[in-house]
Symmetry: C2
Subunit: 140 residues, 2 copies
Amino acid sequence: MDQRVSLITLGVADVGVARRFYEALGWECKEVEDTVFVQAGGSAVVLWGREKLAADAGVEDAGAGGFGGIALAQNVRSREEVDEVLAAAAAAGARITKPAAETFYGGYAAYFADLDGHLWEIAHNPGFTLTDDGALILPF
Amino acid sequence: MDQRVSLITLGVADVGVARRFYEALGWECKEVEDTVFVQAGGSAVVLWGREKLAADAGVEDAGAGGFGGIALAQNVRSREEVDEVLAAAAAAGARITKPAAETFYGGYAAYFADLDGHLWEIAHNPGFTLTDDGALILPF
């Protein structure tokens, strides 16, 4: 299995509502058959009905709510950008689960939950390289 | 907010056990302070204690189990490769939640849940470009 993630599919209650949330954050969304695709570097983020995703994956869905055991992170280029993204997310209806604060690794980060509870960490981490095209390169 | 996912952090019950699972699939893991990092294209996959992730994100954790509302996908270059990855995952202890089958979009895909229940779809989708370096490019 290659070290690669092609798609990150977020199960959502309402694809249109979720799309408008991410569009409010500036994302360009393409919708195909009730599925929203967003090119994100060499991967794509997909917004799809939560019940459809569970059925497609062959798993039971006990319903949304609670911690799903996963978090996405977006590393940004400055502390100011952390604050800007958090403010935009809050304005779009996100719940700030952890306000921006210094981190143990010398960075600055915050978390929000999107309208379906999916967690995003927005972080400035001076120890991780962020290339001009947005790729994250681990230092080890 | 840029269209970019820097880190995908999987909360796991035991970092060492999770690391051995992904190493069994051929991934090169780097461990720093009980956190495992895997370079995956321009992003990184991180394995971290589930309770630490929940605490870091500022959310309650009702415990693992059930559908977390998210799935990762790895697109591969052939149907044979879908079968190969599934067999390797099953041999490493993954639960196959959906056996490989034709998809409505003319592809071939299957899902497995890793040792902590995180869902991976392994898919061959002739409609999505996969570059030589593994980047997925949406067709629209």
